[in-house]
Symmetry: C2
Subunit: 813 residues, 2 copies
């Protein structure tokens, strides 16, 4: 195991002592203890909340080894001093590390160094009393083998239980810059309100009411104002999975030629909706009491963690979902308006009612008006959307695996490009899947006709026929409004996320680079996952530091302590690096020419004018097999040049690299290409060739239910990316382009059969370490069985190698 | 979906009304309601505990459809009558079934029949008031789409919340013969005690103290005596996984010839341990208060379900585990003594202390002295072990996937036979893995030398060299004591469990068939899994009915209502059949001769004297591949006769079956066999040949966290066996035999090279429907890559077909 913590706040010794008192590890009694050994015994006494008498506590100490020959109780009861090695022998065992397996009792400091656990300052071989207190402070912030701080581990064993109902304890309780779990999760208050939105998307003559589920600490009843984590999740009231499945589009259809046009940016720019909005409902009565509660929300473990720590959590599914008004729109401005309506209510700027009858208004009287949004995928997307409005009260968004432009989710380069794993899905399918009003037959009966018409309009407007950018997509491009962002940003994305592709976070990062807000970025090696239960990085602590700063206003150095960019290493397990930026405009570029299926450095070889070609059409059996087994296609695509894909794609490999190459940014392929018909597309994959044990893109569950989010509260599984079996290659990144969209995604260019055209394609951004001894590969092909249409057309593509090149931004090391 | 419920207790109408009053669905107010419609509205009003005002409750009714055109609120507020179709339209929606997808509003009764949901009696098309009350009673016992009763579904939404703290509510509260969730799971009391066992397995001069974790309802503090579910789990204090992995035995070793012997049954009969036991510790003080609690036990969802329903739960890991005294023994009588010590304490017949210092005794003063054991695998094994002692207080055991004889777990027919999936595991490995005292370095330091000696003795005594039955294994054969069983039995096992093989449950079933206890058996199509979260069978309700009868003494017809044997159908999903018995001695037998790789009916063909042969030795590359990919070996073994396994095994297939054949019991293979060296073994698989979509042996998770075990309590995932892709064959059952153990498992016979010997091998028991159109197959081979040693020896086996036959017990239909 290798531990990496970014959120340990450096703390002055005096403040550390003060904080230890606040959390009851030091008090008047400890001030009287005359030796380091007595102090350490006292600290340990306090650290075993499940044991009630000295007898059983000493038994626990006797179950730890202090030296290779002496147990903890025997040692401390016979010595006044606390050698540093004894302290860390005991500490490592408390942190869950196993004697002999993880460390040797003869040399605990070697293990501390190897695992990357911090060792406190000490002038001699023994801790003084003053040093020991600081060492204990540091130990509480140190991660256990379970990937929790020691203090969080103690929390799960009930350490804070006596403080929960102690009126002398300040709430929130801050330790090392982070809010602690002193709130009683068995007493959480759950209530439902209906927020009145500023629109009427189902055109029933009344503003849409939107259901919101609120969970807040019981302490709010006594007047505590709390910050809010708000997750907008269209899935969270249920989904229409079967109806969505039925709507999936057939992708085994040919790519169609497009009529060239002169479409301009103005032609595809969405216009604001000017439909008049009905007046708000009159407010005749106001109450603090809801009429409706709920047994169980669809929860998110990161939110659960903060429920134990004094944050309220709000879930809302938005227009068109179960118990709300309106219709689904898959990301258009109406959905954004719906999303921020909840924030406006939480910030005191909008009305909510206790029921859909709207007879009584109910304010968010318990809110401190500081709101963060959280969530992954569509949930993170709506957080991003909300941020681009600059809505008041939204202090920060934590957007994980979020879409920044729906064109980049369902389209690319004038092509219909499916999110990985979901061929045939489109904006209309997602609208139908999330239209959970359908789950209540009585409600659906009243809206069915309107909904069917709206859904048909989405199907029409998304325009699968051309794949072009148009007003439909422009309305769903949040990047246009990035300049309005006022919330601080914590962005998280997987470099192997081929569902919401990395371009989404890259474009947003580039759009906000110069905005006057604080922004942080974490890139991991996973696919479309969340990372808040990983062992090797203190993500939950990072978020706690961040939110304690953003929402509770604690000056905890979050802005400066956290690196701008944290990126997980793709070659070493459990390794995360800090960087000042990602895809910086100043990155140098290295270019390669293409030469008879080889990649050669531009500096060392003359460009040659060869044309080389491949045909996209496969034998029917092979084609059918790939349509049912996309992994097999991908494996053949990148595999041996002379396998079943021979002559159906081109593979160019570089010389074996003599030094590591750290790609960072957006690779660009320049090509001169011809096709034998007036229709065509090209796809590209950049590949790391070389035998290696690579990280799996799905994390391994190390221990089920190992992480309690509080004390006897909800639980998460501990995870980690682990090296999988040796593989001969790995795709680094990819890209796609319709040959009729050489200019941009909306202007359709002519395409004459067998005429050569220049094409420049920007691939999805990446950050990837290519190891010395490996080869860089570029694979050029057409049909992408996982993402494009699959017409199996007789299309012969020719490429003039002399006019083609690959350009790679990288980080100089 | 197809619903099957075995635990709906038939209830007389008057009692149904009484029970509806007890759970607050009927009261004086409902007696005044003058029309069926008003009554149904009132019942619905009470069924939405999350909604507090008439406004929001009526809204819920308006979200359901009563007829194809009218919602529930519109209908009921405008009609006096309740048509049967309206009742079930509303009911189906409440049960989670979707309009149009699962049923049509025009004909709900068709769906009720198809899904197998019970329809209440009705004289006309409308329910009378009296009929309606009975219909509501039935509806509460009916399973929802989530595989919970409607009442359990209401429970998860908080229906019983007002009853939890209502002093007028009787606890336990019984409805339809089953205990209901009226206990507050946020107030459960958790405490640790140390039970003094009647032995000293670590020979430290003091009786072993055994840690037990207790969870009991807070109501016990006010004097309620409660029954106990006790799970003995050696895993539950942690395991030494890495140490266990290191101890795994090498299975790539040759099978060794054995010296013929004249061993008798007496020679291998274990002798009772006569070592004197130290005197009990003196009891000088007694308390009702524990010194130690715990934050979180390793829980078992079935137990969690009953914690909400007024049962206490106790977990204990036994001798040699963390915080307990003693050493691990893997199933010998000392472990049984350790297991029942906890029961003796719970029944008031043994001392426990509040700590290992043993200064204060603590009785189980809150126990009603009625105890059940629960658990799967090793846990169920210890339940079986405990039952065979006849210990007082143990009313019933629910043994899931339990071992009945450790020889049948690690050995078979004079061979070392691994549990499926764990080649190289043995009794010593399991002892090391579960010796969790090792997890506390301080405690381990004190016991290490003794433990290493004990472990070496296990390694020696288990005798991997011969694989013979001996005194070591005889001491671990619970079947010898089956006649002592006094507890009623609920046995559950997977017919595809190749970890704990079906022989274990079969031998126990046969041993108790004539004992004067109630016994029930459930056989499912899974492997080594538990079935308490399945949708198609009401397993949790079955257990509730069973335990409410066994531990609370409620006369609820559990003994007669539940079928003796329930077996899941292997050809139809979601189908379970009731049978009077399994493997009944009276089953008829059908026999097949072997003929040149074919199976022919004995009646229709003359026996022939052919000898046919195969060689067990594989090319090295093929051998190496199979050692790393056991699934590939298994697939080749049963696959095309002429594939890579050609001449390395024999495949005999029957004629295509013209009728279904329902195998039930233990197939027997009679063979005349020779081998070219003085050593040899044979393995057998009975195979179903024929293309079919078969059930997967691992269940599919239908919905995560869908099943709350109470109200805002712990959650389980909803599961089901689902048909997987079409496969050409499936193994039905298998068996193994050392050719030197032709007589029995301890007597070693001589084996001359190339001499023919008669051999009769009983395969693992099964229950399997072979469909008409399929072929029965018998595959004869030697090395079993998943279970036997894999020496890749040059062993040529010859079989005289004329003297060989297959005998199959079956159920006549």
């Amino acid at each position: 195991m290798r531990n990496q913590q970014f959120a340990i706040r450096p703390t002055a010794p005096a403040q550390a002592l003060d904080e230890l008192q606040r959390i009851h590890f030091l008090d008047e009694k400890s001030a009287d203890l005359s030796t380091p050994s007595l102090l350490l015994q006292d600290l340990y006494d306090r650290s075993w909340p499940e044991f009630k008498t000295p007898d059983v506590i000493h038994q626990q100490l006797a179950n730890l080894m202090a030296t290779p020959d002496t147990d903890g109780w025997a040692f401390l009861s016979h010595h006044d001093t606390v050698p540093v090695t004894v302290f860390y022998n005991l500490a490592l065992q408390r942190l869950g590390f196993a004697v002999d397996l993880d460390f040797k009792l003869a040399d605990p400091l070697a293990a501390m160094a190897k695992i990357q656990l911090p060792v406190a300052d000490h002038a001699g071989n023994d801790f003084t009393i003053a040093e020991l207190k600081q060492a204990w402070y540091h130990l509480l912030t140190t991660h256990s083998k379970n990937g929790q701080t020691f203090l969080d581990q103690l929390t799960t064993h009930g350490y804070f239980e006596p403080l929960v109902h102690d009126p002398n304890v300040d709430k929130p309780l801050i330790f090392n810059g982070k809010s602690q779990a002193v709130f009683d999760t068995t007493q959480l208050i759950r209530e439902v309100v209906y927020v009145e939105s500023a629109q009427d998307t189902d055109h029933d003559g009344q503003r849409d009411l939107l259901k919101a589920e609120i969970i807040r600490p019981a302490e709010t009843e006594a007047g505590l104002k709390v910050p809010v984590l708000y997750t907008a999740s269209p899935y969270n009231q249920g989904t229409n999975d079967e109806a969505g499945d039925h709507m999936m589009h057939n992708v085994n259809v040919p790519l169609q030629p497009k009529q060239p046009n002169d479409t301009t940016l103005a032609d595809v720019t969405a216009q604001p909706d000017t439909t008049p909005v009905p007046a708000p409902r009159p407010v005749t009565a106001t109450t603090k009491e809801a009429e409706q509660t709920f047994a169980r929300e669809q929860s998110y473990t990161l939110n659960d963690y903060f429920l134990a720590r004094g944050f309220a959590v709000v879930y809302a599914a938005g227009i068109g979902t179960l118990d709300s008004d309106g219709v689904r729109t898959t990301g258009d401005p109406e959905e954004t308006t719906s999303t921020i309506a909840i924030i406006e209510w939480l910030a005191g700027n909008r009305t909510a009612f206790t029921s859909r009858a709207a007879t009584q208004a109910i304010p968010a009287w318990w809110s401190n008006h500081a709101i963060a949004m959280t969530g992954r995928s569509y949930l993170g997307t709506l957080a991003t959307a909300a941020a681009t409005t600059g809505v008041a009260g939204l202090k920060t968004v934590i957007s994980e695996a979020a879409i920044s432009n729906w064109y980049d989710y369902y389209r690319d380069g004038g092509l219909v490009i499916a999110p990985g794993g979901f061929p045939g899905e489109d904006a209309d399918v997602l609208a139908e899947e999330t239209f959970s009003r359908q789950l209540q037959a009585g409600d659906y009966h009243r809206i069915q006709a309107k909904w069917q018409a709206d859904l048909a309009a989405i199907t029409h407007d998304q325009d699968r026929a051309t794949g072009n950018y148009n007003r439909f997509w422009d309305a769903r491009n949040y990047l246009k409004h990035a300049k309005n962002i006022k919330a601080d940003l914590l962005l998280v994305h997987g470099l192997n996320d081929w569902n919401v592709k990395p371009r989404n976070v890259n474009n947003l990062w580039n759009a906000v680079r110069d905005l006057p807000v604080t922004k942080k970025l974490i890139l991991h090696q996973g696919q479309h996952i969340y990372i808040n239960a990983f062992r090797s990085i203190d993500y939950t602590d990072i978020v706690n530091l961040w939110l304690t700063h953003e929402l509770l206003g604690v000056d905890n150095q979050a802005e400066t302590l956290l690196p701008n960019v944290i990126i997980q290493d793709n070659t070493q397990p459990e390794t995360w690096h800090a960087y000042p930026d990602w895809d910086a405009p100043t990155n140098p570029t290295r270019s390669f020419n293409l030469q008879h299926d080889e990649l050669v450095d531009q500096q060392t070889h003359d460009p040659l004018a060869y044309a080389t070609s491949f045909n996209d059409q496969l034998p029917v059996e092979q084609y059918n097999r790939y349509t049912h087994d996309i992994a097999a296609w991908q494996n053949d695509l990148l595999g041996d040049k002379h396998n079943a894909m021979f002559n159906h794609r081109l593979i160019f490999k570089s010389a074996v690299l003599t030094d590591d190459l750290l790609l960072d940014g957006k690779p660009v392929v320049d090509l001169r290409v011809a096709v034998n018909q007036p229709v065509g597309m090209l796809s590209f994959q950049l590949v790391d060739y070389g035998d290696a044990k690579r990280l799996g893109v799905s994390p391994t569950i190390l221990a089920r239910k190992a992480l309690d989010e509080g004390y006897r509260w909800r639980e998460d599984d501990l995870r980690e990316f682990q090296p999988a079996a040796t593989t001969p290659f790995k795709m680094i990144t990819k890209g796609h382009r319709n040959l009729q969209n050489r200019t941009n995604t909306y202007h359709v260019d002519e395409l004459k059969p067998n005429a050569f055209y220049d094409l420049s394609v920007t691939l999805q951004p990446t950050h990837y370490r290519l190891l010395a001894g490996h080869q860089l590969g570029l694979v050029i092909y057409a049909t992408d069985f996982g993402m494009t249409v699959r017409g199996n057309q007789d299309l012969q593509y020719s490429i003039q190698l002399g006019n083609s090149a690959l350009h790679l931004p990288y980080l100089a090391e």
